[in-house]
Amino acid sequence: MSLNYWQLFSYYVFLFPLVMSVVYAVGGVYFWFRREKRSEATERTIPTEQWPHVTILVPVHNEGATIQDTMQNLSSLDYPDYDVVFIDDNSVDNSADIIREHLKTAQNFHLIHLSKNVGKAAALNNALTRIGDTPIVVVLDADTTLKSDALKWLTLPFTYQPRLGAVTGNPVARNRKNLLEKIQTAEFASIIGLLKRSQRVMGRVLTVSGCATAYRTDVLIKVGGFSSNSATEDIDITWKLQKAHYEVWFAPKAVAYIEVPASFSSYWKQRERWALGGWHLLRTHKDIFQRWEHRRLWPIYAEFFLSYIWSLLFVFGTATWIVTSIFLAEPAGLNPVPAWTGAVLIFACLFQFGAALLVNRQYDKTLWRAFFYVPWYPLFFYVINALTVVWTAPKGLMGSLNNVGKWQSPARKTVKPLVQG
């Protein structure tokens, strides 16, 4: 009896997301029950004078459309002692002029102008050498705004846990007008929110959210700062910190409002960069398997590797089925038309989103509205992400890593903050 490989692959394509959706949902709810719901009554607090000084670093490259809102937001944070350093990465628009206007009135605002465009990672490294000996730096994207108490939630864990290297915030979609934005709202809650919680339960996280994360400055410098040799500097720094035995925590109460891509082309570009960053992670951090002391990172790497295998099988299996169904009476490959397996996977997606709604509703009161558009989100999450993984595979596996992190900011719209305070 010959082994039917396509049958085997179809089991994998069906079972991997099914099994993992239960892992994310259970892990997410477990984290929420232990660290969020139960801890509310015994919340730690510290006196005002004991909050450590924080320096917020905001890399800016042609962000004239959004920087005004970001500055307004950063001038009214509920935190006793903080500086904000904007790093103008040689913008060609009016970003630097808008920032300069604010320097006159805000004493804690500063501007570093870089004479050459070097990309986010190198811009941040340049700033790290110029900001004195601040104990904590928070890296914030130029189009991201913080809930007024977010800085406290990002900083608080550092005051009682010396093993911490970074604390990542909870990104919530701010723009939710068109269908793509609504689907991403669901995706951010269902995938990123649950994923980070479940990974924290397991002990290590795949990545911090590059849009809003706090780092211990001395640790950041000790591991060599941010790397320009990865398409996603946030994934890379997370692994560098954890390989150096520092913890990376997730602070769900540190809500950061982000602008999600509003058009399909910018959505594709963002996912393409993320997928490329994933390939770079697989390439540059595979050495964890050579050292027993890195064993706690093995499950996260293995899960990520298996998700990339899933994407490859899904795309090539579907392509094979489409081609062979045109030319052959009995097509080979993986049939993408949803049948029983598709029906079960949709159920799993809805179950996962239900769990996300439960754990994230206290930070995002209108998240339930995105539930109406959830049936479309598997299409985006599974199909688009799988396609970007395949699309970036040659560059990710064989392309040079030198300065690959230097990228252009996506097109921005001017949007008003969804919620403040």
Partner: protein, 135 residues
């Protein structure tokens, strides 16, 4: 009289323009809202159809029930695993706390400049980093 009428006409023209622009914007917002809602509703219709044709049919009852049972068992196993892992970490990892790590430093030298311009190639302490683990 004529001047007054001309000025009134101008005001009316501006008012008409404002009404036209706002009603057109409102109409488009309504149309796009309805289209988005219809797409959302179509998604639920598709889910209902797929479930109706493949999940809630007599020939699928057994496999669906077995899958739900297996997933429930997986859910319970995971919950038990997470609880055990938490207990292990609490006892061995955090309480023993073998790694000697310095606590967060409290001193801070204030930033004394408002704006500086720097050459990134001079200031970047990562500039000499080479890609050492490229495959």
């Amino acid at each position: 009289m004529n001047k007054l009428q001309t000025s009134k006409n101008k005001e009316l023209t501006i008012l008409n323009k404002v009404i036209n622009v706002s009603s057109t914007s409102l109409a488009w917002a309504l149309i796009l809202g309805v289209v988005t809602w219809v797409i959302g509703a179509l998604g639920w219709y598709a889910v209902g159809t797929i479930w109706n044709q493949h999940l809630f049919v007599p020939q699928s009852v057994r496999s669906t029930a077995v899958t739900v049972l297996l997933l429930s068992a997986w859910l319970l196993i995971l919950f038990a695993l997470f609880s055990a892992w938490k207990a292990y970490n609490q006892n061995r990892y955090f309480r023993n706390n073998k790694r000697s790590i310095e606590p967060l430093r409290s001193a801070n030298k204030p930033i004394e400049w408002a704006e500086i311009t720097i050459d990134p190639e001079e200031g970047n302490f990562l500039k000499s980093e080479q890609v050492s683990n490229e495959s």
